[in-house]
């Protein structure tokens, strides 16, 4: 009747039908293993940052301006204490990157968790109950999707800052950022889960459960939910990459994490001011880490999407 919406396009055209699926032999491409390893290593290093970082990049008192803008250790003027050099305040860049990755992953992961939880629950309700519940949830989703992620996130953090002066502090910024990203992303989960729920609800095993007189909550939680989760896993993976990028973008634009508690995006923002003066490392190293991290997640997500794609299995 109307034009297909964007949800139908890039991610998953439909819920994977768990039809007679023979377990295919696991043949994971080397690139996917590589991607997963990179993500794990970065994730582990980020999680262990307080223990493995050579310096504490959050202790402003320990910075020495004499060490500022020091090039990486492998360069002629480098200092062996600062492997990847220092930023404009004399902060060790390597340590700052470890802590920054930690912040970026935590915010990205938090946003995915919040968005997925909210989206899955609302999608299940909308798809299974239909009627006005469905109409309400989907119309709200339509309005939200009419604003691009980055704009909505900017608005939320902009408004939060205007209303609530604390919003920009290291303590509150992560909460605001998670909210700002999740407020847009839940719609995608809700739409996908709703579509999959409608497909599953019309299947005979759900109808059988209804004829048996099982309560709706039980049917949704026990019968439908496990069968609609595979697209959610795919979206969550791809969304984790997108959320990390959005956080980085917000921080780069100066409405994310403050310079006192930098994420990777904040570090690139700081570095961007020095690119023209030949101090390339402050921006380059965090950017490289960001891209490698996101690329790793995307490679895994891309493969998961193919893996769960029923059409591909049929072929």
């Amino acid at each position: 009747m109307s034009a297909p919406s964007i949800e139908a396009a890039p991610v998953l055209a439909e819920a994977p039908a768990p039809a007679p699926r023979k377990r295919r032999r696991m043949r994971i491409p080397a690139s996917v293993i590589g991607g997963a390893v990179v993500v794990l290593v970065i994730g582990l290093a980020a999680a262990l940052a307080p223990w493995i970082a050579p310096h504490n990049p959050l202790d402003v008192g320990s910075f020495d301006l004499l060490n500022a803008e020091m090039p990486p250790a492998f360069m002629a003027e480098g200092d062996s204490r600062f492997w990847l050099g220092t930023d404009n305040q004399g902060r060790d860049l390597f340590s700052a990157m470890l802590y920054g990755a930690r912040v970026s992953i935590a915010i990205g992961g938090g946003a995915v968790l919040v968005a997925a939880t909210v989206g899955v629950i609302l999608g299940l309700l909308a798809g299974y109950l239909g009627g006005w519940v469905d109409a309400l949830i989907m119309r709200v989703g339509d309005v939200i999707l009419s604003l691009p992620t980055i704009l909505l996130a900017l608005l939320v953090s902009g408004v939060a800052r205007a209303v609530f002066p604390e919003a920009g502090t290291a303590q509150w910024a992560p909460v605001i950022l998670i909210g700002a990203i999740a407020i847009h992303e839940w719609v995608q989960y809700a739409r996908t889960v709703r579509a999959a729920t409608m497909v599953e609800s019309s299947k005979d095993y759900v109808r059988a459960a209804r004829v048996m007189g099982l309560p709706s909550i039980r049917i949704m939680a026990r019968h439908i939910l496990p069968n609609v989760l595979s697209p959610v896993i795919v979206i969550a993976t791809i969304n984790l990459a997108a959320a990390v990028l959005t956080e980085a973008t917000l921080s780069f634009l100066g409405v994310g994490m403050p310079p006192t508690y930098p994420s990777l995006g904040t570090l690139i923002r700081i570095g961007n001011e020095f690119v023209f003066s030949g101090i390339w490392w402050i921006a380059t190293f965090p950017a490289a880490l960001l891209v490698v991290l996101v690329l790793g997640v995307n490679i895994v997500g891309d493969w998961l999407r193919d893996w769960f794609n029923p059409k591909r299995q049929a072929r």
Partner: protein
């Protein structure tokens, strides 16, 4: 079909209402306008007077209605920061952003569609796999990193292209364009590539996926079983089916390009609406933020209506009823 159009119109109206409501709430409650507009040392009585002259003491719905009325006549308020009408500010910045977005859209479509089609024709081939891998890198690069990298290489190291601004612009009937000068074009190269890159990979991947789907459909199998030549099947029949969703997505992409222009404009100091908006966010300049929001919401609605209209033209299932 009329019913479908009416339903779309209703939805568009709903979106516009929701967006104006958000803008109104921002205007009215975020950053107290009385505090913003009165002197530092204003007495409570003076403030109450100002509140009354601004009409802030009346019922909220009345205020909302007036707000909608003002917006509809183009009165978007006055910027807190530089005390100029917001509509003028937006108007000045509009050409820069639109020119950037148009060039980026053309770039991403003209490159993304052909590559996507070619990859779908031989999805297991070496070239297609390479493109898939490269496209993954494309969607993993944040726009600002792409921008900084391009500046570093082409502006700082090679010194081939300018790294910021629009170059020389020409005023044509109230529209400042960079299309007419050499420096305008040179300045456009890096920002438009930056903006186009992410969209390009999205469009390419979408076209590829659609095309693969269509090629395995029954009607294409039937066309093969009728012995039609592969070129005809691929480029005449299947391509048309595969491009249908691309129309929708391109429409939505233009909306998101405008949003992504915020980032690109920041990196390249491009004097467009995005830069205006991001400055407004950091100064809590609410009228500018609200107006930008209204503008993007409006643009989205217009683009969506246009996509629907195009659909009714190109899709016979919408154009004609059952015989």
């Amino acid at each position: 079909m009329l019913a479908a159009l009416a339903s779309r119109l209703a939805q568009a109206l709903l979106v516009m209402l929701a967006v104006t409501a958000i803008a109104f709430v921002m205007f009215r409650y975020v950053g107290d306008p009385v505090a913003m507009m009165s002197r530092e040392d204003a007495s409570p009585a003076e403030k109450a007077e100002l509140r009354k002259t601004l009409g802030l003491d009346r019922p909220v719905l009345v205020q909302y209605g007036e707000f909608v009325g003002r917006v509809a006549t183009g009165d978007l308020g006055v910027s807190f920061r530089n005390q100029r009408p917001v509509a003028d500010l937006l108007g000045e910045r509009l050409p820069a952003t639109l020119e950037l977005v148009i060039v980026a859209t053309i770039l991403s479509l003209s490159i993304g569609v052909p590559i996507g089609v070619l990859c779908a024709l031989n999805p297991e081939g070496k070239a297609a796999r390479l493109v898939q891998t490269v496209s993954l890198i494309g969607i993993s690069m944040p726009t600002f990193v792409t921008g900084i990298a391009l500046i570093l290489v082409f502006a700082v190291i090679l010194r081939w292209l300018p790294s910021f601004g629009r170059g020389d612009v020409v005023l044509v009937g109230g529209w400042t364009t960079g299309f007419l000068t050499k420096s305008g074009w040179a300045s456009l190269v890096l920002p438009s590539i930056t903006l186009a890159l992410y969209q390009l990979t999205l469009i390419m991947r979408l076209v590829r996926a659609e095309m693969i789907d269509v090629l395995s459909s029954d009607y294409i199998r039937f066309a093969r079983a009728r012995g039609l030549p592969a070129r005809y099947i691929n480029f005449h029949l299947a391509l048309r089916n595969a491009l249908m969703p691309v129309v929708t997505v391109t429409g939505l992409q233009i909306g998101s390009l405008i949003a992504f222009a915020i980032v690109t404009e920041t990196v390249f100091q491009w004097p467009g609406m995005g830069l205006l908006f991001i400055q407004a966010v950091s100064f809590a300049d609410v009228p500018v933020m609200a107006a930008y929001l209204l503008f993007v919401g409006f643009l989205f609605v217009v683009i969506n209506m246009a996509v629907d209209l195009i659909y009714t033209i190109i899709d016979p299932r919408l154009r004609t009823r059952r015989a």
